[in-house]
């Protein structure tokens, strides 16, 4: 940001632009936007994290988010209520997850290749379905989305009140709750232990009587369901409509965030919020100190900072030892 300000002739001093940035950080709308931007990333990152903790990389995430976005929105557009829409989006994700799981777990195909295939398949199927179902609409039809929940009393708190307790929909709250739930299940329950064991050393899990195939399939199915809900957030809570290219790389960001988070749900939340904050900040910086600078520089900001954060954080990341290693029973 300093660099941008110095380059920019319309701004005389560095401290001015720093003050601008500080002003932005003190507005409730900035923090509300941060959470909004972070929500689909939280869903996606948790979903990917669950898959990877069981030892399966899921590069289908980008396409599964597209499919979730379409199905969630379409259900509501066809007359279902919002909760049903989210549930159907989840099931769509589960279906693609089971496909990815079937290819990579019992059939032990390359997780990279299968994942990219799933992304291409889910994306094109979604676009195709959209075109078939709505052949001649001039602009994407809108639905009545989730409304922000206004909490009594809490919403009166300065800064936090309007941004968190009055500005967020049920889906954001669901995402936050899922972070805690995922952490709980992974670290405090036998199921979580089984999932982690399958990602660390499937032979060890098998020797202890755990069905590695079932655990991995289950984790990929549930994880993919969450990814799809992340996609659905965009059509059901953010943009209220489905359009092409709307996922726009968010799935890939989630893959990076999982590494950033060292495969831990709490850090995944932190990473998603950080990215959301950078993104919210760059939009506001464009408006305030943008001036003559090409706007692409600002668009770049969250990605550049994320890469830097990733480099710092992932140097000592302890990845699941059996990640991307197909498990074949009886083979050593």
């Amino acid at each position: 940001m300093l660099g941008f300000a110095v380059l920019n002739p319309t701004y005389e001093t560095v401290s001015d632009s720093m003050l601008e940035t500080l002003d932005i950080l003190l507005t409730a709308s900035f923090w509300a936007a941060t959470l909004r931007i972070a929500t689909p990333l939280i869903f996606g990152t948790l979903g990917e994290l669950i898959c990877e903790r069981a030892g399966v990389l899921n590069l289908g995430i980008e396409g599964i988010m597209v499919a979730g976005a379409l199905i969630g929105w379409l259900s509501v557009y066809m007359g279902a209520d919002l909760v049903t829409g989210v549930a159907l989006a989840f099931l769509t994700g589960v279906a693609f997850g089971l496909l990815h799981g079937a290819l990579t777990v019992p059939l032990a195909l390359s997780q990279h290749v299968s994942g990219i295939g799933i992304t291409l398949l889910a994306t094109s199927l979604s676009y195709y379905a959209y075109r078939i179902i709505l052949p001649d609409v001039p602009s994407p039809p809108r639905i009545e989305p989730f409304q922000p929940i206004v909490w009594p009393i809490l919403s009166e708190i300065p800064l936090i009140g309007p941004s968190l307790f009055a500005g967020q929909t049920a889906m954001t709250w669901l995402a936050l709750a899922l972070v805690a739930l995922t952490a709980w299940v992974l670290y405090r329950t036998p199921v979580g232990l089984a999932v982690r064991a399958c990602g660390e050393n499937p032979a060890a899990a098998e020797a202890q009587g755990i069905d590695v195939t079932a655990v991995r399939m289950g984790a990929v199915a549930v994880g993919s369901g969450l990814m799809a809900v992340g996609g659905a957030f965009l059509t059901m809570s953010a943009f209220n409509a489905f359009f092409f290219e709307m996922i726009n790389g968010r799935g890939w960001i989630c893959i990076a965030l999982v590494v950033f988070a060292s495969w831990r749900p709490g850090k995944a939340l932190l990473g998603a919020l950080l990215f959301g904050a950078f993104d919210a900040l760059q939009v506001r910086l464009q408006q305030t100190i943008g001036g003559d600078l090409p706007y692409q520089l600002f668009l770049m900001l969250p990605f550049v900072l994320s890469i830097l954060a990733l480099i710092v954080m992932s140097r000592r990341a302890a990845y699941p030892k059996a990640l991307m290693v197909p498990y074949r029973k009886g083979e050593r």
Binding site: T189, P190, A204
Partner: protein
């Protein structure tokens, strides 16, 4: 042994993989509190039999009966590890099955809790384990990641895993392959205590000394059949070896030779380490022609660094190395040309290129030279003829000239590597764990070849974790401990016990005194 109530009964077990008969009409019975040794060479069918018992494979024929807690025999459902675990069968695999990043406690309770319970009740597990640790003498910290444990500790965790599930039958697959002699003694003490408590134990091994030491009964498998089933007290090592191999094993004889000029001199040499090979500091070592020098030590204490140095894969960071009285250049090609032969530790990774053919692998170190190079091209006919001769001379079986090297068994692969190295009559040979994982037949062939090379005038550095091998083959032995090498001691007067103490960091004189005392005590 017959008075014991039976806990396990295998009858007429048969299993084939294609044309290969891995198990043929095998009967096995095991009594409560009995320690049975299952002896056999690689491929004799031991592992297949245990995999059938543990449900990894389904037998083609035969039946398995296991006693329940009430002592009544009941058939075991085939093909289900879960059923085997539930029936009280615990297995300690040769390659440990621990998840490194999970805590020891998590590794042990994994799979024992009810699937959907929302909380984990660790208090009860800890209490139970504390009792087991106390009773069996299996001290281990429950709260560290399994990856931070030593090999001996990992094995204790594996045994605890089985005991925690209330195993009544414990199967140990080659449990001592990775242990020092002291750790082996510790393991045996634990096993005897557990057997006295009523645990039935199957001890799979091909090490005769250990089988004689621990078991009450020995069953020998050869080519999938039971060829011997005898009380340990009623047999001896030679008889078991013959039963296992199917022919008498010639005793290895090392004739005393007068050493020649120093072929290799290390003077205060340091080699910087990597994770897996460890470092070495200030190492002095002299190896003469017509001499075999043994290097002992627990893996990772510096042998890897020495091997890397002599293979030309790591330069010396300090000190002086003299090779055949001249300078030493740490470069693989230069060393090969100077007459250094290298038998790498991991023959699959460093010894051959698995996907390349046998003849390609056989000329891997010589393809640059006459007669394999003609006018800048590879003379395939010469290379193939050379390989055919090597394979005949060194008895390499299991493939033709065009077979990919990875399809060879370990023993045949090692014989091919040995042939490649020895055919050039090197003046210095580095043999790093040359017989690890080989069965007796192949191992004795390799050992005989090394002795032959010594007789021809080669200086040999034999790095081995098999102390019997070192004591049998070498003229002098030094021990690595934490990167430092003890002075060379004459092999005569050393014992496995003394070497074991030195491997654990005791000074040489101390170790020798200690073991000498024991010897007088015994007498």
């Amino acid at each position: 042994m017959t008075a014991r109530p039976p806990v396990l009964c295998l009858a007429g077990i048969g299993k084939s993989f294609g044309d290969l008969v891995a198990n043929d009409a095998i009967d096995l019975s095991l009594g409560r509190g009995e320690i049975l040794a299952l002896l056999g060479e690689n491929g004799a069918g031991k592992t297949t039999l245990m995999n059938i018992l543990f449900g990894h494979y389904v037998a083609d024929e035969g039946s398995i009966e296991v006693a329940g807690p009430d002592g009544r025999l009941a058939p075991l459902p085939p093909g289900s590890p879960q059923a085997a675990l539930a029936a009280g069968i615990g297995m300690v695999h040769q390659h440990f099955t621990l998840a490194d990043n999970l805590s020891v406690l998590d590794n042990i309770v994994l799979g024992t809790e009810r699937w959907w319970q929302p909380f984990r009740r660790m208090g009860r597990a800890r209490q139970l384990l504390a009792g087991l640790i106390e009773r069996a003498g299996l001290a281990v910290d429950l709260d560290v990641p399994a990856g931070s444990l030593s090999v001996g500790e990992r094995q204790r965790v594996e045994i605890l895993k089985a005991l925690y599930r209330e195993a009544r039958i414990l199967i140990l697959d080659e449990p001592t392959a990775v242990l020092t002699p002291q750790e082996t003694d510790g393991l045996f003490a634990v096993l005897r205590r557990l057997a006295a408590d009523g645990l039935a134990i199957v001890f799979i091994s091909h090490k005769l000394a250990e089988v004689m030491a621990i078991s009450e009964r020995v069953m020998v498998l050869r080519a999938g059949r039971v060829v011997e089933d005898v009380a340990t007290a009623a047999t001896d090592r030679a008889a078991l070896a013959e039963a296992m191999v199917g022919r008498p094993i010639p005793a290895m004889s090392r004739e005393p030779l007068k050493p020649g000029d120093p072929a290799l001199v290390l003077d205060g040499v340091d080699v910087a380490g990597t994770d897996h090979r460890g470092t070495m500091h200030g190492v002095d070592l002299t190896v003469k022609a017509r001499e075999m020098v043994g290097i002992a030590g627990v893996a990772g204490n510096g042998q890897g660094a020495l091997a890397a140095l002599l293979s030309g894969l790591a330069p010396p960071a300090a000190g002086r190395v003299t090779l055949f009285g001249g300078p030493f250049r740490p470069d693989a090609v230069t060393l090969i040309d100077a007459g250094v032969g290298r038998i790498p530790e991991d023959r699959h990774r460093d010894g051959v290129v698995g996907d390349m053919t046998l003849w390609e692998n056989a000329v891997l170190e010589d393809y640059r030279r006459h007669p394999f190079r003609r006018a800048g091209l590879l003379d395939r006919a010469a290379a193939r003829a050379h390989t055919a001769r090597l394979m005949a001379e060194h008895d390499v079986r299991g493939g033709g000239l065009g077979t990919p090297a990875r399809l060879l068994s370990g023993g045949n692969m090692q014989k091919l590597i040995l042939g490649r190295v020895l055919d050039r009559e090197p003046g210095l040979i580095l043999a790093h764990q040359p017989t690890r994982g080989l069965d007796i037949g192949a191992a004795t062939a390799v050992q005989a070849r090394l002795l032959e090379a010594r007789g021809r005038g080669a200086a040999i550095v034999l790095i081995s974790e098999d102390l019997d091998e070192l004591l049998q083959l070498t003229d002098r032995i030094a021990v690595f401990y934490r990167g430092r090498l003890t002075p060379l001691l004459p092999t005569e007067g050393l014992s496995a016990r003394a070497l074991g103490l030195m491997m654990a960091g005791h000074a040489a004189d101390e170790a020798l005194a200690e073991t000498a005392e024991r010897r007088t005590d015994a007498a």
